[in-house]
Symmetry: C2
């Protein structure tokens, strides 16, 4: 039987229209480093997004489904691009300015970007790449910065035209008759860069962005209103800044944008001056802020809620911010999950009890709309008992079911990333409590599969690093004839300490509460743990060194 409801598609243009009318007085404030911050109302952004869409379509010929990229900091022009590009029917491609040049080139070519909007301050990054960007026809520059490296490219006969953002939109109509798209149309895309293989493109739809925005605005998630100002530290080039630009336009939340001023000192200054009530950031940035605030105290009393994601926040950092009146709330997600998957708001019964902090250091509780299951080493479904560890798989309307295959190719569904019934395999290993709280214990690629059971490399590492003689430890899986895989413990010793592997092994059993069968037999001392470009342990280097016989292993 059919319902009698209107069939209104969930479109980003509807979020823009709502935000720029009902919440037209709300503001995006962009930090400028020196002098007054730049302020623009949601109404102005609505008008300028319409102008930008006219310019992209009429002057630059951007058509339905064409990719228009941004290489920008968090600022109000980037918000304009966030709304203009998808609303007109094109696809916003946010380029991650932290990536190595070769990856940026590969990604822009793979996405077949026709336009790049770039901040003036990032011209030195873009200009040298331009000759290698095969599909880019137009570069649009916004904000201060020396244009000359680009103008050289413009005249180089490679067909790239360079435009000034403000000149391009000036005089264009401030309204746009946004098309009534199918809500499953592509709206935005973002590439993830794993440690192996080519980057993978995730293509968000209008529907997924819209639903994700509603979830972000639910009280159980971030739950902000027009009484709030959110300091959006998490970059707009990183999973849509966790959905904040869209979510804030839905409910009139003011945004404070740091632009390129992401260092601790300007962050502290902008918090004191602009008095945000909320911030969203990764732990490393926040750790720097803590040091800054300790060295030079500021009035940061406005900021009571901080959403931290990207990686787990060390409990000590959480406590330090609690002491400052900033309540840190963990959230877990990934590019493939838009990203909101879990939020660590303790359940009602735990609030004010000894259990509360224990809930806050989990990854959080699954949001309504995100279904989760755990898959064990043999592919079996594991219970939500808070103890059984398996690979986390998720399903939901804002979760990826494939990767972008390229403009003319079918979507990619690699079997190690998507189950046969369409769920996303997150690559994260963890437990789920009966009340739906996720605790991650390892990455699936790092977990040791020993005789049909799993051993968490992270648990072993944490237990080892608690020993006074150990400054760093990395545990990796190595092949074993009998068990399939066994753990190899690689430790970095503090200066002056001597290797006593028997003692370390006994320490793990006694103080680390590691089960007997999980204790490593293979041990080695290394000079330092190899790291990836973003500072994570690079365990594949250690595995390769072991395979190549480069590590002198002691067998206990």
């Amino acid at each position: 039987m059919q319902s009698t409801m209107q069939d209104v598609p969930l479109l980003i243009s509807r979020i823009l229209t709502h935000g720029s009318t009902v919440h037209g007085a709300s503001q995006v404030t962009t930090w400028t480093g020196e002098g007054a911050p730049h302020r623009r109302s949601f109404a102005e952004i609505g008008a300028r997004a319409a102008q930008l869409a006219h310019a992209l379509r009429e002057d630059l010929g951007v058509g339905d489904g064409d990719r228009a990229a941004t290489l920008m900091w968090n600022n109000s022009e980037h918000v304009e691009a966030y709304f203009a590009i998808p609303s007109m029917g094109a696809v916003l491609h946010t380029l991650n300015l932290r990536l190595p040049a070769d990856q940026l080139v590969w990604i822009a070519n793979h996405a077949a970007d026709r336009v790049v909007i770039v901040n003036g301050s990032l011209i030195p990054l873009l200009a040298p790449l331009l000759p290698r960007l095969e599909t880019v026809e137009h570069v649009v520059v916004s904000g201060a910065g020396d244009r000359s490296p680009l103008l050289a490219a413009d005249g180089a006969g490679n067909g790239v035209q360079v435009h000034e953002y403000e000149d391009l939109i000036a005089g264009k109509p401030t309204v746009y008759d946004w098309p009534e798209l199918d809500e499953r149309t592509a709206a935005a895309m973002c590439y993830t860069s794993g440690t192996t293989g080519d980057p993978k493109g995730v293509v968000f739809s209008h529907r997924s962005v819209y639903l994700h925005s509603m979830q972000v605005n639910m009280t159980e998630s971030m739950g902000l209103t027009d009484q709030d100002t959110s300091l959006v530290v998490v970059p707009q080039f990183h999973v849509n800044a966790w959905g904040l630009p869209h979510a804030t336009f839905m409910t009139g939340v003011n945004m404070l944008m740091p632009d390129r001023f992401l260092q601790p000192a300007p962050l502290a200054a902008m918090i004191e001056a602009e008095r945000p009530t909320h911030a969203a950031a990764v732990p490393t940035i926040w750790q720097g802020l803590l040091a800054e605030l300790t060295a030079k105290p500021r009035d940061v009393s406005s900021l009571t809620q901080v959403t931290i994601g990207g990686s787990a926040c060390p409990p000590s950092l959480m406590e330090a911010f609690d002491a400052l009146g900033m309540r840190v709330c963990h959230a877990w997600g990934m590019t493939e999950t838009s990203p909101l998957g879990t939020v660590a708001r303790p359940p009602a019964h735990a609030i004010g009890t000894d259990e509360e902090f224990g809930y806050r250091v989990t990854q959080g509780r699954f949001a309504a709309g995100v279904e989760a299951r755990l898959t064990g080493p043999g592919g079996e479904r594991l219970p939500w008992d808070g103890e059984s560890a398996g690979e986390l798989e998720v399903r939901g309307p804002w979760i990826a079911g494939a990767y972008f295959g390229g403009p003319a190719a079918e979507p990619l569904r690699p079997a190690d990333k998507f189950s046969e019934d369409g769920w996303l395999k997150t690559g994260d290993v963890g437990t789920i409590s009966p009340d739906g709280f996720l605790t991650l214990t390892d990455r699936a690629k790092d977990v040791i599969k020993s005789g049909g059971e799993w051993i968490s490399s992270v648990d072993l590492e944490n237990a080892l690093m608690a020993h006074p003689d150990v400054t760093e430890a990395a545990v990796v899986a190595v092949p074993d004839d009998k068990w399939g895989e066994r753990p190899l413990a690689t430790v970095v010793l503090r200066e002056g300490a001597t290797a006593d592997f028997d003692a370390l092994r006994a320490f793990l059993a006694e103080h680390g509460k590691i089960a007997r069968w999980q204790l490593p037999e293979r041990w080695t001392v290394i000079e330092a743990v190899p790291k990836t470009s973003v500072g994570k342990f690079d365990k594949k280097v250690l595995r390769r060194r072991y395979a190549d016989g480069e590590l002198p292993v002691t067998l206990l």
Copy 2:
């Protein structure tokens, strides 16, 4: 370009599964009048909803799209029906137990209900109607109450079988493999009864219910969490209890259900005993509660947030509840809007200022997802200037675009209820401020269309009733050769007062700030304003009396 997101339909079964696992410990508490309240966890309700679905499908033969009706108070079994019936693919039809018997019969026959689940206490209402219910095959009885009137019907050879709810579900599996429906499938239906014509059926879809639930959980709307308990006074037979049963399962909000104990004394008692943090009710119920609390003070300090809808809350009542620590928040909607259309949370800039109360007495600000426009007397689009009054038209994914035409008929789209481009004509006349706050001034059928302009009957009535000699006043449109329509003022005088229409007219102009051209020329004294069954002014009776020459009119 296609997105790479999973295509997961928005289904009520997903809300049920989430609520009964992640929030399995949250509770529905049903008041029993005497003795301990009845408590059931979300996990138990999930299991029992599965059992009910098995029973309906396997024992009673309820198939896809079949209507299964409820004639029930607010209680946990009604919540079970709310989830079981749509989740299995059938359609929940909530019968309004306040309707006259003839309307109930018409509605149940029009919907072709196959099953009615009834509370034992409502058997005296249902039993006499049974012989006239043409399509009902099964009656399922839940809770205490004399069964004998039904059992007589059961043996009367009319083919109706009577079942006990608990016997029916006992022993059934506590899980159900909920079907993966199209999200636009009908989920629930509710009839509106206007003052003229047949009742109109609104059929909600899984999609509309799901999206509406997300909106209810947004902080700008009700925004509750598992730390809250919501006292759901608004009946489940009235627009899905404003969406609360669905919304609460999404986020683990506990529900306190009053069952049939809707009188002021038990309401006060249950608030004191169960300490809800939120309540949802219509003003009349809340007015009675105020009198009760004044006569017999209770500890109602837990209850800090009260959502009031259905009709406007008198400012005096709002202030009285403010004084008790209960913050009243206006919301506007109708059956056709699911119902959430607006919520009167003042904008950030008004909080703590003289403007705040002025915002709270409006109908509220449009929710994200609800688009609004005003249409003037000549069909022209009016600005959002807080002054131009027009008929409110709305669009959105949880707004009706048609009425149910019957099981075998096409949906109905009467031109006075739906615009050519598919928007709902609400029949409400009002203004919208530039920041999206709606103020209703009249019903479209009561507004006086005079020379291409509109005169609000409500404004004239309020101004007249401020005069000390006037106890009640109703203003209706009457035909006028020159202006099309003009206002007729009908007044009820206080005992002992004599009619001085010139003085009343002057009073309107001076104290009521009514524009010269809006002042009525036609005046009459009546004994009492005729009222509808729900206590509203019945202006069509007055218009008919005028047309029939029954009213002695003075022309000024």
